[in-house]
């Protein structure tokens, strides 16, 4: 079993295996480290950072929905400065890839964040979140607009040599065009998908269950949509894809790889079983073993249509 090669690459980023934990569902790694072995994972993606700290949205921020959940955290985060001071020391010790996710309200802020952070050795790559549905400025105003995504990619590219992954919005009919723009502007990869815009109301108070009114839908409910988006990108654009959306187990991870993902991210599942990532790694090894797959990358885009 040990002879199976699980490693994968995202542009110039080498991962020991394709299993990453998704931004916003793993904090900065310290809490979840008590419940799972992070060093066994391909990597973790840190909570979206903005230049300055953000308090996030007022409560209620989350609500459960059928096979999913809505969240409107509002990018609560410690800001770049404290991140470097307080979080990097812990992350530095981890034997896994650290992907730093950035969210911002202006193109300048994206550039500024990446400029500051690119010299931090611990950070192996940047994931640029242009698709947060829960903030007034930035977020989907960028993520649903082709030219904004192009400009952000281009300008972030100009200030770092580290791999740049653009995290795409699923709330568009043509996600592969966004992937194409990312490729053209020098992005190394795309992540798909971020959450879908959703909402939920209390019929007695007639108020939205989450204070922000709308939130982002995640969890198993969105997996079929995410699979379709990854496949759409794979069939149209030659760029590495990180598959995200409703992954609960190794079968889901394998499905994403088959439709074209070079790596996957586990999000909501961490809240329920923080060891999901590790279990996926084990499950993929066994799967390869049974299927006589030598290199896990053989799975990538191996769909038969």
């Amino acid at each position: 079993m040990n002879s199976i090669d699980l490693s994968t690459t995202i542009g110039s980023l080498k991962l020991k295996n394709p299993v990453l934990l998704a931004s916003g569902t793993v904090g900065y790694g310290n809490e979840i480290a008590q419940l799972t072995d992070i060093s066994k994972l391909g990597g973790i993606v840190t909570k979206s950072l903005s230049l300055k700290p953000r308090n996030g949205n007022p409560p209620q921020r989350i609500v459960e929905t059928p096979s999913g959940m809505l969240n409107a955290i509002g990018l609560a985060n410690v800001g770049v400065e404290e991140f470097v001071k307080e979080k990097i020391p812990f992350l530095k010790e981890l034997d896994t890839a650290i992907i730093c996710n950035i969210a911002a309200s202006s193109i300048e802020e994206y550039v500024e964040c990446v400029k500051i952070l690119t010299c931090i050795e611990t950070i192996n790559a940047f994931e640029i979140n242009v698709s947060c549905p829960n903030v007034k400025e930035g977020g989907l105003i960028f993520g649903n607009d082709l030219s904004s995504v192009a400009r952000i990619t281009e300008q972030v590219r100009a200030v770092t040599n580290k791999p740049i992954i653009i995290k795409l919005s699923p709330n568009v009919p043509n996600i592969s065009e966004f992937a194409s723009v990312v490729k053209n502007e020098g992005g190394d990869a795309v992540s798909a998908i971020n959450t879908l815009v959703g909402s939920s109301f209390d019929i007695y108070t007639r108020k939205p269950k989450i204070k922000n009114i709308t939130g982002g839908l995640s969890g198993p409910a969105i997996k079929p949509i995410a699979i379709a988006k990854v496949l759409e990108i794979k069939r149209n654009v030659d760029i590495p894809i990180i598959g995200i959306g409703g992954i609960m187990n190794w079968k889901d991870a394998a499905e994403f790889m088959i439709v074209g993902a070079s790596a996957v991210q586990v999000g909501t599942a961490n809240f329920i079983n923080p060891n999901t990532g590790n279990e996926i790694v084990d499950g993929l090894i066994e799967f390869c073993d049974r299927q006589r797959i030598q290199k896990l990358t053989e799975l990538i885009g191996s769909y038969k249509i």
Binding site: G27, G56, P59, A76, F271
Partner: protein
């Protein structure tokens, strides 16, 4: 904080829709503190998706107790578990009640299911003097098992004082001229709000255990904010709480 597969040792129906369950969770039992909670996976499938948080009601050797009422689909499923079933428990979570420092008398203020954490707190407080105020909508919802010296209040007067727990408690404090006490409270938001106001006005030492929607329960989702009184943003109920000093948060 760990995940423990725990065998259900017994289930007792203690009210119309209220149950007490006893689980064998030696690892969690060893480290748990009163006021902490566990996040329970109520089914083996992905439905319902999220775990459900419940206060640790008591600890006895290798076993932990929970008390819950049927609220929605998750607690409905939990109520159907039988002896021998295995539950996946994440805990202990949160800070728990602060019992350090000086106080002569512990005052418990519990509303409805808010009684849940007090048997454990009473046990750990040992010989300390405890006076408890237990409120509920009516007599059938009063949970006073294993709660020391309970004074009862019901909204409809079907048991004890007719009115709310906070009135009962404040009357008592005045009447008995209590001093050097600390209030530990848990219950529905309106009750906690009233108690918070009362204890701040009187400058009483008061801890409140709050509830809110949670996804992870251990600090990674940022889903459970509560506003800090000092204007410095939010605290996380699951990690910085669920117990707060009444002065520190806005309800």
């Amino acid at each position: 904080m760990l995940i423990e597969k725990s065998v259900l040792e017994s289930k007792r129906q203690i009210g119309e829709k209220i149950f007490q369950i006893k689980l064998r969770s030696p690892k969690i039992a060893t480290v748990a503190k009163p006021g902490q909670f566990c996040n329970i996976k109520v089914s083996e499938s992905d439905f319902p998706l999220l775990r459900r948080p419940f206060s640790i009601s008591n600890v006895d050797g290798d076993s932990i107790f929970f008390v819950f009422d049927i609220h929605g689909e998750g607690t409905e499923i939990l109520s159907q578990k039988e002896k021998g079933n295995v539950l996946d428990i994440l805990g202990p979570l949160g800070n728990g009640f602060d019992i350090s420092g000086d106080f002569t008398t512990a005052i418990f203020a519990a509303g409805g299911l808010g009684s849940a954490p007090f048997p454990f707190l009473a046990k750990v407080l040992g010989n300390k003097e405890i006076i408890s105020f237990v409120g509920a909508r009516n007599s059938s919802l009063v949970l006073q098992d294993d709660i020391p010296n309970p004074q009862i209040a019901t909204d409809d007067g079907t048991l004890g004082y007719k009115g709310n727990v906070v009135e009962l408690l404040s009357n008592y404090i005045v009447k008995h001229n209590l001093k050097e006490f600390r209030i530990f409270s848990c219950g529905p938001n309106p009750m906690l709000k009233a108690l918070q106001k009362y204890s701040i006005e009187n400058n009483f030492d008061c801890q409140i255990s709050v509830e809110c929607a949670m996804a992870c329960g251990f600090g990674i989702c940022q889903g459970c904010p509560i506003e800090a009184s000092n204007g410095d943003g939010y605290r996380l109920v699951c990690k910085d709480g669920p117990v707060f000093n009444a002065k520190d948060v806005k309800l």
